[in-house]
Amino acid sequence: MADLHARTESDQTPAAAAPELTRRNFLSQGAAALAGVTAVAAAVSPLRHLSAEHVPNLDEFLQKHYKEMTAEDKQRVFARISQEVQQRHQVQARLSDPPPLDGVEYVYGLNLSRCIGCRKCVHACVEENNQSRSPEIQYIRVLEMEKGSIDLETADHHYDPASVPNPDKYYMPVQCHQCANPPCVKVCPVEATWQEPDGIVVIDYDWCIGCRYCEAACPYWARRFNFADPQIPSDKLNPNMAYLSNRPRERGVMEKCTFCLQRTRVGRMPACLEVCPTGSRKFGNVLDPNSEVAYILQHKRVFVLKEDVGTIPRFFYYFDERGGRYREPVASPDVGGEA
């Protein structure tokens, strides 16, 4: 209780405590202040290792959202990005911004009867889309599934046999499903990710704040975060880049499959499809009744993953009616003939 009174007295004289500027007071308070400043300086000292590229310059800081950029803004931003690529990799990047095509909605079909689980698509994707090699970022995950089950929890993500396929298994590659009702777009607090008119869900890497809410929302585990600085060997860099897809990403932002829009919007096929040795992958415009994907959707046994979560994927799986893989030859479908 005595102690309590002592403090009450000092409570009453806060203003008087310091102004009496004795030598002793001055020295002790000065020492305390100095110790405080030193401690704060020590605490923030790791920041001296922050390299220049991690500190946004004024242009980057003031850069607008992709949808708000004028043509001139885009030119300026693209020039800056090309310059950064040049500096970091000594590679002349061809940065483009292909727009979505009118009357086009892309869908992707994957033939489970044919896929042999060779993972060539995974690596072609990494090379085409300039994903980080260290730490490794891959958009496609191939699951080795138990025959007779579609329970993802029985899947082996890290199968590593001498040769594929294992006749007792089947293989199911999963990548972004470009949902028509995308939960990732809904949850983004800053509209850094959105769905384009051709159905592709894209990210403005320069707008993303890295909260990873979209990663939590995605039912297909299709989104990846750059936890560290992405490392790409300069000789592996793909110089054909688009702003919304495969240009190099920075640390601290999300990225994902964009159906290779830098290729597909100018009439080429996605890299994963081109490399597939079994023809398991089919891609095209679902609005075109003569397309291969339209044929498959009408004539094959088709399903989408996790239909119950209501995402309405543009990525579907299908079976051949007879045979499978290459063990039993299957006549190639008469594309477009019956449509």
Partner: protein, 408 residues
């Protein structure tokens, strides 16, 4: 205006005045805060790779603490309701400590969200393109900041009035008190909706999460305040009656019972149905695929919860010793259950069935400790300043003569 600046200056000065225990406590908190700042600077340099989070478990200790603290902040309303709605006078002189706690805790919440961002430098993008009302995160931004402003206003106004030596006018704070009560429920509900609305995460996609949030918040929050008030009355001249503590005890009692009941509802639904939906809960309670890092934690939490509830139900908890022990048990149990126990299992297994466990790194732990220390530091200052001011010991009037004497 000058008067207000003088008020702030006096508060600032006052926060440095105290006996050796006060200085030791504050120094300790400052050291831990700075250690956290150091770890955060390292995270800024290296990226979030400094944490234990991965693409598989993309939210960890930061969001877990955030979730728990939102509950603690909301619980300030549990003090306010009996005072202003039911005119319970026991609590009247302690309600301000609840609201000050809310302010300190909301600051901690905001810090926890900020350290979780991959690109904190782009923070202002929130103001430029705000995905409202689609994104629940934007709702949470509004809810938390609104609650912060409301409580800052109420506390600031009451303390400033005491400093000026005038009676607070009801018009300027009572309506805000009622808004804050509704708002307190909303911050917790909105935070629950953040998780509940994700169809791809079955562990979260359940209507019971929001009610459980509220029940556990209204247990852990008042339990925390019971302990705080005893510290306040032990170390300051402020009087807190035992009756006020026992009123809070009754709130915790009911909240703990409801919380346990809702837990049983949830467990029954998950495990009796035994569908694919149960995988995350199975991981949490029994381990999955040989991985069981959270199992000892969650059973500790369940055990503590049951013991705490039993203690609170027994008449023995009318004695402060038992009450305090039960409060500590409840606080820790709910921190485990609502933090790690709610956030991490939702990511295990991943939507593609992969089982990757999460272990926080030293950096992450240091940053969390730093934020906790910072919150305690802020709260200590709040209490340190508000007690003598509210008691009328520090006022503008009795500082003036000194001021005059000092000016040459």
């Amino acid at each position: 205006m000058k008067k207000y600046l003088t008020f702030l200056w006096d508060c600032f000065r006052l926060s440095f005045v105290g006996d050796w225990r006060y200085h030791l406590w504050m120094t300790l908190l400052t050291v831990v805060t700075l250690a956290g700042l150091y770890a955060y600077c390292q995270q800024l340099v290296h990226g979030l790779v400094a944490t234990g989070m991965t693409d598989q478990v993309s939210w960890g200790l930061y969001i877990a603490n955030f979730t728990y603290l939102v509950g603690l902040a909301a619980a300030a309303a549990m003090l306010v309701i009996p005072v202003y709605v039911y005119r319970n006078l026991h609590l009247h002189d302690v309600v301000i400590f609840g609201e000050l706690l809310a302010v300190a805790v909301i600051l901690m919440c905001l810090l926890f969200v900020t350290v979780d961002l991959g690109r904190p430098d782009r923070f202002m993008h929130l103001f430029l393109r705000f995905n409202f009302p689609m994104s629940m995160l934007t709702w949470d931004v509004i809810a938390l900041n609104g609650y912060l402003v409301l409580n800052l206003h109420i506390c600031g106004y009451l303390i400033y009035c005491a400093y000026c030596g005038r009676q607070p006018s009801a018009v300027f704070y009572v309506p805000f008190v009622f808004v804050a009560i509704a708002w307190a429920v909303s911050i917790h509900t909105v935070t629950a909706f953040l998780y509940v609305g994700l169809g791809g995460r079955p562990f979260w996609n359940s209507a019971i999460i929001a009610p459980r949030f509220l029940a556990s918040a209204f247990a852990a929050g008042p339990a925390f305040i019971i302990l705080t008030l005893q510290i306040v009355r032990r170390y300051t001249s402020h009087q807190v009656s035992d009756d006020a503590l026992l009123t809070l005890r009754r709130i915790v009692q009911v909240a703990l019972l409801i919380n346990l009941f809702l837990l049983v509802c949830e467990l029954f639904t998950e495990f009796y149905t035994d569908s694919a939906h149960v995988a995350s809960a199975r991981y949490l309670y029994f381990g999955l695929g040989g991985q069981n890092a959270l199992v000892p934690w969650i059973w500790t939490a369940v055990g503590m919860n049951v013991v705490a509830t039993t203690c609170f139900m027994l008449p023995a908890s009318r004695s402060l010793g038992t009450l305090n022990a039960a409060c500590v048990l409840a606080i820790v149990a709910i921190w485990i259950e609502k933090g790690m126990g709610l956030i991490v299992p939702a990511f295990i297994p991943t939507p593609l069935g992969e089982i990757v466990e999460y272990t926080p790194t030293l950096h992450e732990v240091l940053i969390c400790l730093g934020i906790w220390a910072f919150g305690l530091l802020v709260y200590t200052i709040f209490v340190r300043v508000s007690v003598p001011v509210l008691a009328g010991q520090i006022t503008y009037e009795n500082r003036r003569p000194r001021e005059g004497a000092r000016v040459p």
